[in-house]
């Protein structure tokens, strides 16, 4: 266990160092974009305003209130101070709405859409890939081409196809929104059912594409492992097939787990395509608008969450690796 502690501490230090740099980049990168976010707000206010001095005053007033007239270093210090007190500031693009309010109202839609989709897509994809590798013949011949075909579908293509077939033509599912266009949210069955129905198309548009990619990866890994020396040796030893399959899947699973962790880490970025095509509420579209509108506080907040989630997911994976694959721990703690 001593080796594991050293491994753990080592990873923890790296987590910290990466977090510091990520923090810095989160602040700096959006501000390096060309353009001027305050101009956008002034533009909205200036409609109908015809004197130039008034406009200049307004512009400067907002620049002051966002602290954008201060030097970058002072802005950074302020940002750090605010973030540690849980204050992400006021959004520029949805001024005067606080960033925390925007996040809290849309993040649950994103997580509830993405998390199950990622997990289900991963489970189905990996199982199919493993089966294709193990069963070969007919199963592989069907699964492989379909997987390649589906995984190469652009996300918007899949979303639009599902919408046209099941939404517009067959009318089985609604084409837009997170719940019925004529409903007001409450805890009634009608509302819950409406959410479930609206959930299906965006959900499957993500899952179907995920399945293909995962299946291909898992199949290749499994074929590689099935031909490995230890499998042959185990067979010579007369070890039972189930046992060998267990070994094979455990080994083939490693890179897939990394992929899963990264998907979960970045899921807060949102399912942009599904959100746009189905007008589904969520963070992806909010983030896109934030980037377009140079909404520094909102961009920083979302990217910070993504960064932290990726870092934590990675950290967790490395911890699990240390447990499930002793080779890694051994190599790193030497």
């Amino acid at each position: 266990m001593k080796g594991y502690r050293k491994y753990f501490l080592n990873k923890l230090v790296w987590l910290f160092v990466t977090a510091v740099f990520a923090f810095l980049l989160n602040f700096i990168l959006p501000r390096l974009m060309p353009g001027d976010p305050v101009a956008a707000i002034t533009a909205r206010i200036a409609q109908g305003m015809s004197n130039s001095t008034g406009m200049k005053e307004t512009y400067e007033q907002y620049q002051r209130s966002f602290g954008l007239d201060k030097p970058m270093l002072t802005q950074f210090a302020l940002y750090i101070k605010n973030v540690f007190s849980g204050n992400f500031g006021t959004s520029f693009s949805q001024f005067p709405r606080p960033v925390s309010d925007i996040l809290s109202s849309s993040i649950w839609w994103t997580i509830c859409l993405q998390f199950p989709a990622i997990i289900i897509g991963w489970l189905i994809g990996n199982t199919l890939g493993a089966l294709a590798a193990y069963l070969k013949k007919g199963f592989d011949k069907v699964i492989m081409p379909i997987s390649i075909f589906v995984s190469n579908f652009p996300a918007f293509g899949m979303a639009v196809i599902l919408m046209v077939i099941f939404g517009v033509k067959l009318r089985w599912f609604p084409t837009s929104g997170g719940y019925g266009f004529d409903l007001i949210p409450d805890f009634s069955w009608k509302f819950i059912w409406s959410v479930i129905v609206h959930y299906q198309l965006p959900f499957w548009s993500i899952v179907i594409i995920a399945i293909g990619g995962q299946a291909i990866g898992m199949r290749s890994m499994s074929i590689y492992e099935l031909n490995a020396d230890y499998v042959k040796y185990s067979r010579f030893m007369g070890i039972k097939d189930n046992k060998i399959v267990g070994y094979v899947f455990r080994n083939a699973m490693l890179p897939q787990i990394t992929g899963l962790a990264l998907s979960i880490g970045t899921m807060v970025g949102g399912a942009l395509i599904a959100e746009i095509v189905f007008s589904y509420p969520g963070l992806g579209y909010t983030l896109l608008n934030a980037v377009m509108g140079q909404d520094y506080p909102l961009i920083s907040a979302v990217t910070l969450i993504i960064t932290l989630m990726v870092l934590i997911a990675n950290f967790a994976i490395e911890m699990i690796y240390g447990l499930i694959d002793p080779r890694i721990k051994a190599a790193q703690s030497d």
């Binding site: 130039s52 200049k56 849309s106 509830c112 929104g177 819950i192 959930y199 097939d241």
Partner: protein
Amino acid sequence: MKRTMLVLSVLLVLSMLLSACGNTATTAPVATTEAAAATEAVVTEAPAATEVMAGDTVLPRNETLYFNGQQWGAVVCWNPYSSNCNNAMAIAQQDNARVTMFETPYIYNMMDGKVYPLLADGPYTWNDAKTELTFKINAAAHWSDGTPVTAEDVAYTWATHVKYNDSTGAANKDYIEDIVAADASTVVIKAKLGEDGKALNPLLVQAYVSSNYVNQKAWTQTLEARANGDAAAFLADTAEDVVYSGPYHKFFADDTKVVLIRDDNYWGADASMWGKLPAPKYLAHIIYKDNAAGTTALQAGEVDVSQQFNSNVQDLWLKDNLPISTYLSEAPYGIGASLPTAFFNMGSYGLDNVVIRKAIAIAVDYDTIIANAMTNQSATFTQVPRSLMNPTPGEQALFDHDAVKDLQWAGNDIEGANAMLDEAGIKDTDGDGWREYNGKKLTYVATCPNGWSDWQAAIEVVAAAGAKIGIDITTNYPEWSVYQTVVTNWPLPETGYDIFMMWSDGAGPTQPWSRIRHLISGEFAKTTNNWNGNWGGYSNPEADALIKAIPTMTDEAALKDAYTKLVKIYLTDVPSFTLMYRPQAFHTVNESVWTNFPHEGDGTDPAVPPLDLTDGYSIAGLYNLTLVNP
């Protein structure tokens, strides 16, 4: 045996998979409760609204009028003093002010160019010297809290605009000296006077009464107390407790929709105003993420009034046989009000030469722009020849058509453009296929913001015209965030912004004067933070003098003469050129549930304009709606 085991294990895995799929359905309710919890928070912010309608969670279809194309993104606030509420269903103080929740003294009707009383009682009057404008408040008008609307409310609203220097204050304080209450119901607006003792701009003074809301004095004071004198806090207040005078108010708003509910105690039901309540109990707007989603919903009958660009709108009734229609049954389907315009950067090499500007402008194929970019939802320049006026009859009557006939062009005149350039000695001297001006090749970049697809289609046609007349025009599409920063701040960069698109004013009580001012007035040329216009840096003292004089003119013949001169100057100097006509608001209706929407020749008098039943006089349309299946 092994095979059997294998088949069994496959079956096991498959059954696990199925149960996993089943789980998606069961995870969804979790999603629901959490999502609902998030939205719940929004609901509880407005306890009054939820109490009124407790348990009423389904909006009855035949009591709800659905919109699209107005609200993009979540509503931020309900504060009528703020310009940043992103609250398209309730707040828009403009030429055709949105009067669903807050009200202006008068409402403008772009169909006849007149204003009609809303909170006011009878028409306004000017004193003889035209320095003071007086109107009375309708005695029946009252606030949502039951207290009467008074002249003092109007005066205090103005004082607040000035005190906190909000956009209304900043926009009008150069022209309005003060607004005072002569008595409980009489309002006097005192114009700012010039050295000659005359009002500086009577046009903007009278436009104030149909563009700006009257807010309640008592509520404003509550807000001031809450903000503790801080202007930023005052303007950033979400104002969930706002007192209003209009027929609708907030019922529900979250990231996916905004719903207004009718106030059944609305004063306008009084015989002195509408005499009844508007027909729909709810006005709802689902927040669609793009035009395509909005069009799909319109087709599905989930939208009644569509204020967005629906490409090839006629297909909806001609091919899909849907009960969908536009204001006009034939192209251009709507009434053009604004003039999307391409500006020449006067600082670019060669564009200071009027021959080059005019050659480019007359070579452009406008019919293609109108067919491609607008899918024919714009009048052509043969139907409405170019000037500075929009296609409405009121504006078209303001200038002498014959006097400017020789100067107008319908476009695609490649021969004429080539001849003009040849004659001016601007020829291809080195044989590379492109013309040179004083020995330097003419090469330009035409630009508009990225993603503004109709504008991009238009800019491509402009670039294509260049190739036909030996001027190298390429296109470039920066993001809007960059684009707006560049074009509103002189000097423009040396390259990249030689020909660029921006908007012009639509229809309103100060038009066409205000549009002309924004297009060519020298006061905006070569300035920074310029959100007004004349972004190309054009300057003409004669035009400036006319623009300054028009607001004080009373003689109609003199006015017509002045406008004709301005059109002549514009078409001669070509500092910019209109690419198409665009409606003030797109207005497509689906008559599956509601009918009797405004249509050309619908018999309403005065005619209700096609402005989505929310803006200016178009709100009258809400009182005419009937159900298809009562």
